[in-house]
Structure formats: structure tokens, C-alpha cells
């Protein structure tokens, strides 16, 4: 009888860890062909690339030296001005993966977001998204703004910002979150490089990260079940009555944690549902004392 190995843990954290370990091993062995990555920052706050820099095992340095060849990034590249945009345009003739953060402003033919000048003409976010979106091998929408407009498209949305899928008409991988956790992006990238597109749910989010509700993994859940609700943000009990959106948000924050895997919003305040579609308008109000106020 052949050796029967113990079953591997199948929770998302373990799967993600095995994924990243394999990526590291393959990169070391030289089996990981370094694909090109273009990171576009459109109408947003650049929060996602800043979040990416907070990555920890793997970190950004590992990602751009071992996993991918980052050919264009507004914030990180050394080239400036025309030279930078020329590099971006040259990538159109090569194979690359496109990661986009930020929404696309539509008003006035996209002139509300200009990401550079190309041969004397302003290069709008709209144009860049369309040009690069159709040529890339894979397109990843990173962050709430790129996925469905997010804060950029919040009321009254004067620049008529929309999510990337309204402009790039092809299947995208969507990674909502405000910002997107570095692990979510790097894990998706690792999967993409080694095995192709990860398994996605109906909203095109990788099931690896966006499957369980925060509510179902929340350490304060026993308080919810017993009906013990907090009245101020200092109470350690369930924050449901103060406006916590944990029950409607599907993401792995309770177990993955943020800032190098040490803390997360519900440790101190409510969840504002930043990785659920409709953020922020449909997740408002974030914290309110209306439901816990004593009636006089």
C-alpha cells in the first residue's frame, strides 16, 4: 500500500500560503517566466500601490524582482515625462498583464484625469484604459474605484467616474477593497503567473480571498449571537448596532489582518464594508449612534 499523506489544510490562508511558497520556489528554479506588468493609476488616490508597498511575505521588492517585470508605474518608475509615456506606449507591442487602480472619469472625453502627455497630446485615463485594456493578456482591476467606481464615483460624481468594466469590455479579474490588501493582489498575480486565472465568483472576484463573510469569522461574533451589542466604540462587544458592515462583506480580513498581518478595523471600530460593491455610498453610514441612543 502506497504512502497516504495527511490531508493538506484547505482553508484559504493555507492555500494562499502554498501558492506563494510555490511561486517563490519556481522563481528560484527559474521556472517562472517573468511576465511584464503595467500598473496604471487612474482616477484614484494611489492607495492601492501604497498598500502594495506594505506587502509582507511576499513584499513588493520580491514581486517586482522575482515575479514580474514592472515596466510602467506612475509612482515607482524612474523615468519621467515623455520618456515614461513612451515606455508605456512601447509596451502595447509586447505581452503584458495590466493592473489598473482608480476609476475612469468619463466627462469631457475623459479630460478630468490626464495621466501624461504623449506626442504633445494629453493622454487621458479613458484613452489609456481602452488602449491598454484591449492589448493586455489579463486585466486586473485593483481597488474599489477600479472595480465599480468606489469613492471616485461617490455622490455627486461630478467627473462621471465609472468602474473599469464599463470602459474595458472584456472579462476582468476584480479585486475590490479600499485599499486592496497587498496579499490579495500578489496572491492573484502569483496564481495568474503559475496556473492561470484563479477561480472567480459571480462578481469576478477570486474565491481565494473573497468568499467568506467577515461576520462568520469575526472574533466578536459570539456577542452578536447572544445579542450583546456595543454602545460606544470602546466596548469589546459586537459593533452591529453602531453600523458594522461585517455581515454583508465577503473578504478575509478577520484572518488575514492588515499592516503586516497584525491588526484590522474591527479591532478598534466598525467595518465599513470597503471591499463590498457599492462602497462607499451603499455602505454609509459608517458609524452612527442613532440605533443605540437612549430614548428620552
Amino acid at each position: 500500500m502506497s504512502n497516504v499523506l495527511p490531508p493538506e489544510p484547505m482553508d484559504n490562508e493555507s492555500i494562499a500560503k502554498r501558492l506563494l511558497d510555490e511561486a517563490r520556489a519556481r522563481a528560484k528554479a527559474g521556472n517562472l517566466p517573468r511576465k511584464r506588468l503595467v500598473w496604471l493609476e487612474l482616477t484614484g488616490c494611489s492607495g492601492n500601490i501604497i498598500s502594495l508597498m506594505n506587502g509582507f511575505h511576499p513584499d513588493l521588492e520580491y514581486a517586482i524582482t522575482e515575479m514580474v517585470d514592472l515596466v510602467y508605474s506612475n509612482s515607482l518608475m524612474a523615468a519621467e515625462g515623455e520618456a515614461a509615456i513612451e515606455r508605456l506606449m512601447a509596451t502595447l507591442d509586447e505581452e503584458f498583464i495590466l493592473a489598473v487602480e482608480g476609476a475612469v472619469a468619463l466627462r469631457d472625453e475623459g479630460r478630468y484625469t490626464v495621466i501624461g502627455r504623449y506626442r504633445g497630446e494629453p493622454l487621458t485615463a479613458l484613452k489609456a484604459a481602452q488602449l491598454l485594456g484591449e492589448k493586455a493578456t489579463h486585466v486586473i482591476a485593483v481597488g474599489a474605484c477600479a472595480v465599480d467606481g468606489g469613492p471616485s464615483a461617490a455622490h455627486p460624481n461630478l467627473a462621471q467616474c465609472v468602474g473599469l468594466s464599463d470602459v474595458v469590455k472584456r472579462p476582468l479579474i476584480k479585486l475590490p477593497g479600499c485599499p486592496c490588501h497587498p496579499d490579495w493582489f500578489l496572491g492573484t498575480l502569483a496564481h495568474l503567473l503559475m496556473y492561470g486565472e484563479p477561480k472567480l465568483d459571480d462578481l469576478r472576484r477570486p474565491l481565494l480571498f473573497y468568499s467568506t463573510l467577515i461576520h462568520d469569522r469575526c472574533p466578536r461574533r459570539p456577542f452578536f449571537d447572544q445579542g450583546i451589542f456595543a454602545e460606544t466604540l470602546e466596548d469589546p462587544t459586537c459593533l452591529f448596532k453602531l453600523g458594522c458592515r461585517g455581515p454583508v462583506t465577503r473578504v478575509d480580513c478577520p484572518t488575514r489582518l492588515w499592516n503586516g498581518h497584525i491588526n484590522w478595523p474591527i479591532g478598534a471600530s466598525t467595518c465599513i464594508g470597503c471591499s463590498q460593491f457599492g462602497f462607499p455610498d451603499r455602505m454609509a453610514p459608517f458609524v452612527s449612534f442613532d440605533a443605540t441612543r437612549e430614548v428620552t
Binding site: F240, G243, V248, T270, R282, A284
Partner: protein
Amino acid sequence: MTELERLRRQIQSVMGELRYLTRLLSVVRDPPTKQLALQQLQSQIGYLTFLIGLLGERATLAESAGRSGQAQGQGRAGAMAAPPAVQRLPSEAEPSAPPTPPTRTFTPAELATFTGRNGKPAYVAVGGTVYDVTNNRAWSLATHFGLQAGRDLTAEFASCHGAQQWILGTLRPVGRLA
């Protein structure tokens, strides 16, 4: 609500007794002790049935007392002297007992006061029925994806959850929309 508390404690102690008796039955060997334990088990189950019936009556009473005081509710509670050996739930013996939810009619203006704020519960109306979503996990702060409680949300429900009518079955109805 001390009455309710007392009932709950009674039920808990009966459950404790039942657990003890079943454990006893599993170890005891001689027939007379077994018989005794079985008889005790039967009587405890009967008592539990009676208590559960009483609990159901209390819950209905609490709701009806809060709105239009129904005199018959009080009368029924007084007639609740069923012996412990009865196998059927006391409410089954009376056809007028309400297993259906209480039906209070809300006008849209009345419904609009139940916003979930300032101590009021949160109610929403879908398809003519008014539901209580105060402690529903998807309705934190009486809002759900930008929708406010205290309104008729039939159209919004149909556009988003049209294929998931079972969701309505998980909600607690409190009346009908006029």
C-alpha cells in the same frame, strides 16, 4: 419579564433532568429501576411539553398586549391548567390559538416612523408584508446597501433578490401594509 425568565429556568432544569435520566437509563441494568427511570422520563417530557406551550402563549401575549389589548388572550392564559401527562401541545387543543404572525396594518406614514433610530425598531415592507429587520444581520443601523428602513422596498427587493424569494422566509413578519 420575570415570568419569562422563570419559565426559561424551568425549561432548563427539566432539560437537565432529561439528560440525567437518559444517562441513567444507559447504565442501569435491573428492570425495576429501569421502569422507574422510564416513568420519570415520560413525566418530565410531558412537563416540558406543557412549559413550551406556556412559553408560546407568553410570547403571543407579549405581542398582542403591546398593541390592541385582546381580552381573550388573558382568558386563554388563565385556562392553561393542562396536566403534565398531556402529550399534545395545549395550543393545539384550541383552534383559535394563533400560530400565524400577528397582523397589524400599517399605513405608509406609520411605517415611516419605524426607522430603527432613537429606540424605534426597523421595519421594511416587501410585497405587502411588513417585516422586522431590527436585529437582522444585513441591516446594520437600519440600512442595507443604501436603502433605509421604514419604507416599501418591494421594487428594490425584486431588482436585486428577485431570484431569492427564500430570503423573505427568513424575515420576521409583523403585519401588513395598508
